[in-house]
């Protein structure tokens, strides 16, 4: 029933789940047993049987559930305290939610979209904010969920085993709500330290095939939430066959989709809003490096 338990407190939450499950199953089966017995026994009975009243029974079925639910409350509360109490000196992960992607910022200043690498077996404090509406940061494997509310910070924490985990948006936030996913890559501490070396990424980047890299960015930066590659419009226009063609804009202008147009569309989308679409694309200025923008443009060019 429950997904893998990958955070330090997930087993504690699961224990509460199974205790409630056991009690519920017991009471449910008890009621079913009585119902079935009574129905079979007294079905089509034509005889008026003596009255039956029992104050003792009524007291029992008031007091016993009472004690049990207080017990359940207590268990739920105890595990909740662990879920909410962030250990001192936690690794601080800033997460900003916006329609419809997740922006991550690690303490060493690395910024990324929809994918972040974090160290394993380290308490991580997630500090949540939102640029527009309410979202909710949900990692089923961690038994962790917290709303990202515009205008304030909320927080949650976890300490995870190495692995790759899906982040889902759990608070309904509009058209691409169900595509607002991110990936948490939890790696052993040593590996994390190694990956942190900033020289590694650009060097590899410049030597990579820009189209393949652009396709990867299309997925990891969340473009796929709104843009398809097969010509069907979603929240945004499909990217297929865009490059080199004329685009009709909302203000009546018609422009040719060249490199500059695409660059502007990515960094400052409200400058040229495509006709028939809402200006909901988040600006990616500051979220993409120069190489990444080039790779994305190369990729879009390849989609003829």
């Amino acid at each position: 029933m429950l997904p893998e338990a990958a955070s330090s407190y997930a087993p504690a939450v699961d224990r509460v789940f199974w205790v409630i499950f056991g009690l519920s199953a017991f009471f449910f089966l008890l009621i079913v047993a009585f119902l079935v017995y009574f129905v079979l026994r007294y079905r089509n009975n034509r005889e008026v049987l003596p009255a039956f009243e029992s104050v003792h029974l009524e007291i029992a079925w008031t007091v016993i559930p009472f004690v049990l639910v207080i017990g359940i409350f207590y268990l739920g509360w105890k595990a909740f305290v662990i879920q909410r109490a962030v250990p001192e000196q936690a690794f601080e992960l800033q997460v900003n939610a916006r329609q419809w992607l997740w922006e991550f910022r690690t303490p060493d200043g690395q910024v990324s979209v929809n994918r972040v690498v974090i160290p394993a077996d380290t308490p991580v404090k997630v500090i949540l904010s939102s640029s527009d509406v309410i979202h909710s940061f949900y990692v089923p494997a961690f038994r962790m969920k917290m709303d990202a509310v515009p205008g304030r910070y909320t927080y949650a924490w976890f300490e995870a085993k190495p692995g790759t985990y899906t982040v889902l948006c759990a608070e309904y936030c509009g058209a691409a709500h169900s595509r607002m996913l991110a990936t948490l890559e939890v790696v052993p501490k040593e590996e994390y330290e190694k990956r942190k070396q900033p020289s590694a990424v650009p060097a590899a980047a410049t030597s990579r095939d820009p189209v393949a890299w652009g396709r990867e960015l299309y997925e990891t930066k969340g473009c796929n939430a709104c843009h398809s590659l097969d010509g069907t419009p979603g929240v945004g226009p499909s990217l297929k066959g865009l490059f080199g063609h004329e685009v009709r804009l909302q203000d009546g202008r018609v422009v040719k989709a060249d490199e500059n147009y695409i660059r502007r569309s990515i960094l400052d989308p409200t400058a040229d809003v495509v006709e028939g679409f809402n200006p909901v694309m988040p600006p990616f200025a500051g979220l993409l490096s120069e190489e990444e923008i080039n790779a994305l443009i190369a990729f879009i060019k390849s989609l003829q």
Binding site: F52, P65, F73, G76, Q83, P140, D147, A170, A175, S178
Partner: protein
Amino acid sequence: MAMHEHHGLASFYEEGGNSLRSWLLTLDHKRIGILYLVSILAMFFLAGILALLIRTELLTPGKTIMDAEAYNRIFTLHGALMIFTVIIPAIPATLGNFLLPIMLGAKDVAFPRLNLASWYFYMAGTVLMMLTLLGGAVDTGWTFYAPYSILTRNAVVVVLLGAFLLGMSSIFTGLNFIVTVHRLRAPGLTWGRLPLFIWALYATSIIQVLATPVVGITLLLVGLERILGIGIFNPAMGGDPVLFQHFFWFYSHPAVYIMILPAMGVMSEVITVHARRPIFGYWAIAASSLAIAAISFLVWGHHMFVSGMSELAGAIFSFLTFFVAIPTAIKVFSWTMTLYRGQIRLRTPMLYALNFILLFTIGGLTGLFLGALSTDVHLHDTYFVVAHFHYTMMGGVLTGFLAGLFHWWPKMTGRLYSERWGQIGAVLYFLGFNLTYIPQFIMGSQGMPRRYWDYLPEFQGLHVLSTIGSYVLAVGLFVSLGVILHSLWKGRKSPANPWGGLTLEWQTSSPPPLHNFHGPVKVEHGPYAYDRVQAKEEVEEVTA
């Protein structure tokens, strides 16, 4: 009390004639009940079709039959119509309007004009909600959470106005029932002899009158914020989006008891009549209705454990939430014990009543997972919640409504329906229901969020099961609908007291005359004195 000799008064259908005017300007509570019944069944049909579209879309990840924007509009409309135009009024406005005065031995409700006005408000609100369909519909979810509901560019204000009018209509009904119960009881009908259905409607009416204004004001504030740009809930203008949730749930949590209490009342009637047995624990059931009404005002925060509310507030709300479990459990145990030593007849209404006990118990027990803080963090806003509230709202309220509809159908229309097909409908309903929602509990536990148009491929198997279940459920409902419609053309005439019930509505003809009774009414025993008073079951054969 018995008045089996009818003095030949014409039924209320014949008395007033059947002109359009005789219906649209009627002040008769029975006709108003029928007007409501027809409108509510139509809305149930529509919102049910939307549900089938939702389930069909979810057969595959990504697009199956519609895009994400259409999907979001459809689930919003499904929720808003089901909650505001079907589930809240279903029992009080149809069965309650028709039966409450009769069960009290009165000629009508205290304020018949207000009663008619409530139907017009209902229609106006419903029409407004449907109008938004033309204007592109609304995509906020029935919860209208700010700031999404303030920022999204569609006809939110119209839907809010619709919900506001529907709220007014339910306040009118509530006021009417409270005054009627206090003022218009027949001689001898003491509080201790009130049928439990009346107790339940009474408790419901109190919540309706106290809580509905709050949501009305909240919805108006959202409207004002959209139109005038005042910052109440939108943080970009200095407002507080979490405040919206407090306001909203301050009404909407008690509202779930506005919905379920009348169904619980129906249960007490149906079970006692078809088990021919005094209710077990009359006072415990009556008092638990009032207890639920009172506690329901103190638990709204359990919808907000992960909203950023303080941990202490979360703990208090969680603690109080568990107290609602007690009166609910008492009712379920009492109904079950009522069957003990009974003379059980498994007619269609009784099958729905048994469906209710099973489905509602599952709904209630799964509430424990959501009331407990740490498990709620995981399950909140997942399919677990979707399944939980469908077990209570559909498995509870609508099953109770169907139990009551089949129970009182002969009284309301004067016709008997096909028992065999009624039973087939009830069984299909039960099977389809569980097949639809049990997979959703599993998906939710595994982390499938709600309101998702697209989903991870590993959930597809469960989604397919759930969709198949929803088709079976729909077939069950169509069979049931067919059964009652068929009875109108082909049904045998119903006697006054087909099941041998002891409450007042069974003492008058089916359907009743304009002023409900054929002579003066006097009550000499409690509503469930089956151990002392014998009423003949005028329709005997039981085909189960």
